[in-house]
């Protein structure tokens, strides 16, 4: 009586343990591939212990912070280029032609998908904005972080460079 119930308990725990172990091993082996994007640091220094660097021409996603002052727009087309950086301080350039998402700002985290043009230049076909997990009213953001976020379309040209950084 007691033993049959215990047998069921242990066999189920064993099955769960084995499958959890198998999935854990799988995720560990795949861990480099599950990352949605490379950071500029991983792009320059290589990824993981093997320091694997992506090849030129490889399709990949690159994610990082838009370096303030690095956004260059073409006057006659939708072409735009900007630099991305991360904690490592390495810089990679993204070239893109198209409409950027509303949240795209200098200092904003973004993820760009495209193919690698050279070691640190990505020709992007899609740019996605990443936002953080902090939510607060504009007044609080201004008081706490000194950030005044105004959509780029509402800014005057002269304010543009200073708006994101404490005005």
């Amino acid at each position: 009586m007691q033993s049959r119930r215990q047998k069921r308990l242990f066999s189920i725990l064993l099955v769960i343990g084995l499958i959890a172990g198998a999935i854990g091993a799988m995720l560990f082996a795949l861990s480099q591939n599950i990352n949605l994007f490379y950071t500029p640091g991983q792009l320059v220094q290589g990824l993981g212990e093997g320091k694997i660097k992506p090849d030129v021409g490889q399709r990949l996603r690159l994610g990082g912070m838009v370096v303030p002052g690095s956004v260059k727009r073409d006057a006659t087309s939708l072409k735009v280029s900007f630099d991305l950086t991360d904690d490592s301080g390495e810089i990679a350039t993204v070239e893109f032609e198209g409409i950027l998402p509303d949240l795209f700002r200098e200092g904003q985290g973004i993820v760009a998908q495209g193919s690698l043009k050279s070691a640190t230049v990505l020709a992007a076909t899609e740019v996605l904005a990443k936002h953080d997990e902090e939510y607060m009213p504009p007044e609080v953001a201004e008081a706490m972080k000194g950030i005044r976020h105004v959509p780029p379309s509402q800014l005057k040209q002269s304010e543009r460079s200073s708006a994101n950084y404490g005005g």
Binding site: I12, V15, L36, P101, L128, H131, E133, P138, E139
Partner: protein
């Protein structure tokens, strides 16, 4: 605790226990749902970055958390059913599954509606989004396996096993945003640190979270009562109950 729980394994006792709880759960669920959602969707301040679009958080986050909470409840019921072979626990598995599946679907759909204006894409094969989609398939799998065998007992057993094993996905969903680079942002409230959301937005969110939890409990009670009646329809106590009405 087990002394208190044990009588509830008896279908008749559980039926009446759920019947007593139901009206209270219904009233509190509807009240908190209306309060939390009207407050959250209508009267919270706008976000400094995302403007009004972030308001969908008041539906997205509670449904996402409860999609995992419902799964955990289902997995515990399935585990109990497998080890101690309590049939009421078995019925609870099937009672919870569709509710959890709907929560998961709501979380995925509101997430897509949020992702399009903010990220710029409806869907990205990001670790968080993919693991939540797998959760939806796990719910479907549990429901499908239940009906896939001509012998109901076998179907119930296999479905319970899948429900238990599938719980491995829960920590993967939760930690996906920490273990890997994802487009989805990190946790706002489900962490030990202070929630990174302003108190004026946090309170309606917590009320909505409570509302989704109460709603799940209420629906589970209702579905469980139906399951008990269906499975026990030839028992004298059910016949007596039905005859009385």
């Amino acid at each position: 605790m087990f002394k208190w729980l044990h009588p509830l394994a008896k279908p008749e006792t559980l039926y009446h226990f759920c019947g007593k709880l139901s009206p209270w759960l219904m009233a509190s669920a509807l009240f908190t749902l209306l309060l939390g959602n009207i407050w959250g969707l209508g009267f919270t301040p706008t976000d400094y970055q995302q403007g009004d679009s972030y308001r969908i958080i008041h539906i997205h986050v509670p449904s996402a958390i409860m999609s995992m909470g419902a799964y955990l409840a289902m997995a515990i019921a399935a585990f109990t059913a497998l080890v101690w072979q309590i049939k009421t626990a078995q019925w609870a598995v099937l009672a919870i599954a569709p509710i959890g599946a709907v929560y998961t679907a709501i979380a995925l759909l509101t997430g897509m509606a949020w992702g399009k204006p903010m990220w710029g894409a409806w869907w990205v094969w990001d670790a968080r989004l993919t693991s939540e989609l797998i959760l939806l398939f796990l719910y479907f799998g549990v429901m499908a396996l239940h009906g896939a065998f001509s012998d109901r007992q076998t179907g119930a057993k296999v479905a319970s096993l899948l429900a238990v094993i599938g719980s491995i996905n829960l920590p993967i969903i939760h930690f996906s945003v920490e273990w890997w680079n994802t487009l989805h942002q990190g946790a706002t409230i489900t962490k030990f640190a202070k929630p990174s959301i302003d108190p004026s937005m946090l309170w309606p969110l917590l009320i909505s979270l409570l509302a989704f939890k109460l709603l799940m409990l209420w629906l589970t009670c209702v579905r469980l009562r139906t399951a008990i009646l269906e499975n026990e329809q030839h028992r004298p106590w059910v016949k007596q109950l039905v005859g009385k009405v």
